[in-house]
Amino acid sequence: MGTIALLILTIAAIVFSAGGILASKIFTKGSFNLQKGQPYECGIPATGTPWSQFHIGYYLYAIVFLLFEVELVFMYPWAVVVQKIGFPALIEMFFFIIILFPGFLYAHKKGALKWM
């Protein structure tokens, strides 16, 4: 099919989701109630805003993730040709990991991977 398949599938997804949501809008009859729009919080009225501070751990994991994700992107082309090149490629990848791993160890030592 070629590139056009991506376009068709995107349109199909939009048509499918919009069709479902529209159909449910047509079939249902809404009612009005003052408390209906309240966000759910165990039944009692919600207090405060959820958009406040949350655990820093998530952020640290995201940063360490970036380190490895970049490494992963470099590995894909390497993996395709490693059989043709042979041992030099393996040694290069070995050094690549040895250079990158201290970053991970540093994060580990600093306690970034510890959940507090």
Binding site: V15, T28, S31, P39, W51, F54, Q83, M93, L113, W115
Partner: protein
Amino acid sequence: MISLEALKNEVQNWLQLHVGSTMALIAESVLLGILVIALFAVLGLLLVFMERKVSAVMQIRLGPNRVGPKGWLQTSADTLKLMLKEGLTPDGADKFLFNLAPFIIMIAAMLIMVPVAFARNFQIWDINIGVLYISSVASISVIAILMAGWSSNNKYSLLGAMRSGAQIISYELSAGIAVITMIILTGSLSVNDIIASQENGWWIFKGHIPAIIAFVIFMIAVTAETNRAPFDLAEAESELTAGFHTEYSGMKFALFFLAEYINIFIVCAVAAILFFGGWMPFHIGHWQAFNHIMDYIPSSIWFFGKTFFLIGLIMWFRWTFPRLRIDQLLNLEWKYLLPISLLNMLLMTIVAILKWYL
């Protein structure tokens, strides 16, 4: 012999003969769209029903058995019920992002289908970077989940979305490295080439121990990536109500639910392609007669059989293991799976360079 490939060629030839080439392309595009939507609907209904029946078998009870013969129409009735529910938007929610999130998760789920080969020569588009494409599009769904959680104006939703984000990006690493481990063997990212390279045996048998380790790591990682139990922290119903889709109701909730099950199907299809040869029948090296007998079973049956076997495995996990805590979950990934999979990758490189797999 009836096969999907023959059917496709028949339709293509008929269209080429009876309407012009431009009209044929348009007709094919419309047909493709309808087929993919139908596949989505059928898979959604089937997988939800399968999950309920599998859980019933695991817990020695009957499961759904009232609507239709043996409860087969239960999920259709559920869909109808969800369609008749009013779609709510909570006060103070970010309306634009709140309504956009279901669309994005559906688009991502549908776009991953592109390079998946359903049968011999039956594939939407054989991209030469197929596997890389799958892993990159699959990571779009985390954006939709974060979007849904953030825009809901609900504390449970935000917490669920944050957990889900941390979990998905963490486990993407070991899933990616497990995929790379197999690419080292195949030497190509294209799905067709990967399947063709398993003509004289599937990689799980040919690849020795590194392939088995990679398979185990891949299954653990994709279970976490699709937010399934025992890694279902993002929607842990006993602590977070429903996680990132607490505030969604009606059809929008149904779309999230559907996308979740479609993602399970796709990751199992990828595992089947990488480790079990996709639509490739069970072949053993030079046993020509045996291979010929195996070829009589249609390739689509092989593909769906393997995929549903792996889906059954993931459903089995759900009813076997207790849920992990968030710190245990992240420890498992960063302190065990990631170093092991890196080491396993280097091991596999040695196996591949020395050609031990033939």
